[in-house]
Symmetry: C2
Subunit: 263 residues, 2 copies
């Protein structure tokens, strides 16, 4: 994933798009390996794309930089990274016009081709627009050697709408029949450093379960243990998580800790 | 900057550390060029470090993965990336003991060298600990060819405390006498796409000013314009921002928009 915007690099805003997208992709059983955040510069965005190609990523999702302003550079960076010229795309223009009429509830046939609208309709050769019913900037879907690329606008409502309607099926198709199960328990009365070797023991014993401890401070000090498992068989994934929870809880209780379900 | 943790890649938590750190570094006039988020894997963390070396970063700050549990891999990854073996560091052990006595307000001279404590005290050769008065995992300060590296724990209170007390002066020293000024205005009554060419015009005319527009939806649609300028002369940076604000406001009003200060 590549999130784009100077405002992210100066701490002006929280990267809520990153959390929303990583959560949504994980729910679809996708495995997000890396998130890179860069500023509004063609070279920086293009390098981040190029590095993901070099790592042979199956899927790249970018977020931000598709709008009308001078510092929206994602289409230019995509063009550079996949070495395909920007071309005015008639379908994109049509979709932008449709969205404009839909949003402003107007039958006005005049749709002025301002420079900023033309900019948003110039896609890298081979790119297909992803219709944005809630804003003017279309998303883009593109393939480059073995990698699928989806570019989404950074305005949260637009990003989420395009993702739910058009990116969700692309990811489902890519992931295939994979299931992910997770669960958490609350642990008190034992230190994280004493739980660590018990987690190791359970993860060694039960394959395909990932357990992570998160120390929490509110209302008082406690430990969340988060279990997850991924499998092409839903029952196996669920059984793995249940078994790991049971085994680890038992070990923790034997070591003087207390385990409670998190509802 | 490298933020580390599987919980960030599955959308379990918001990357608040990224916002806090990028904001703090920007306040010190540092320029954050890229943030990479990777999971709790030695190879992924080491690759992200290696790529930052290849880009000749002046400064790398990592956050997360310094704790006692099996999935805390940052020290191992640092060791791999800078090609320096992990060695038990006596100073680190002493600081860990000091922190433990400080936090638990105890004069107990027994300080058990559990495996998890020994793990946190094994630094890459040449690394120096950064004292953590509010937790057990020390930070690490390290140099590798032209790059300074600081590794901080991911627990927010620990990260912030070490940063304020010990990383702040390192960054001040690296940045030198540079000043950063910023300001914002609220714009209504004109579309972002019509403001875009006006921003271009002002940025072309006034050097060293960066202007970015942020569309907002609450309580109603409006546009925040954010101005910033960096200079080795504080008065020049301030004058640049003031001049850009004045020029752009005038242009916007001439185009039918309304400009208000943001207090």
């Amino acid at each position: 994933m590549i999130t784009i915007g100077n405002e992210l690099l100066i701490g002006k805003i929280l990267n809520t798009n990153m959390q929303w997208l990583t959560y949504a992709i994980t729910e679809l059983c996708g495995n997000v390996v890396r998130v890179t955040t860069v500023g509004d510069y063609v070279d920086d965005i293009a390098s981040a794309l190029q590095e993901a190609f070099d790592r042979k990523a199956d899927f790249i999702i970018t977020c931000g930089g598709l709008g009308p302003t001078f510092d929206d550079k994602t289409l230019e960076a995509l063009s550079k990274a996949v070495n395909a010229p920007l071309e005015l795309d008639a379908t994109t223009l049509r979709l932008m016009k449709k969205s404009c009429r839909f949003r402003h509830n107007s039958d006005d046939e005049r749709y002025e081709l301002t420079p900023s609208r033309l900019k948003m309709a110039r896609l890298p050769h081979g790119g297909k627009p992803l219709y944005n019913p809630v804003g003017s900037a279309s998303g883009v879907h593109l393939k480059y050697s073995g990698t699928k690329i989806v570019a989404l606008p950074g305005v949260p409502m637009e990003m989420k709408t395009i993702f739910k309607e058009q990116v969700d099926p692309i990811i489902r198709d890519l992931v295939g029949d994979i299931f992910r199960t997770e669960g958490s328990v609350k642990v008190t009365g034992i230190r994280e450093s004493n739980v660590a070797p018990l987690i190791d023991e359970v993860m060694n014993e039960i394959q395909n379960v990932y357990i992570k401890s998160h120390p929490k401070r509110r209302p008082e000090l406690w430990l969340e243990l988060h279990f997850s498992s991924v499998s092409d068989n839903k029952e196996i994934a669920e059984a793995n998580v249940k078994k790991a929870m049971r085994c680890l809880s038992k070990l923790i209780i034997n070591h003087g800790g207390k385990v409670e379900p998190i509802i």
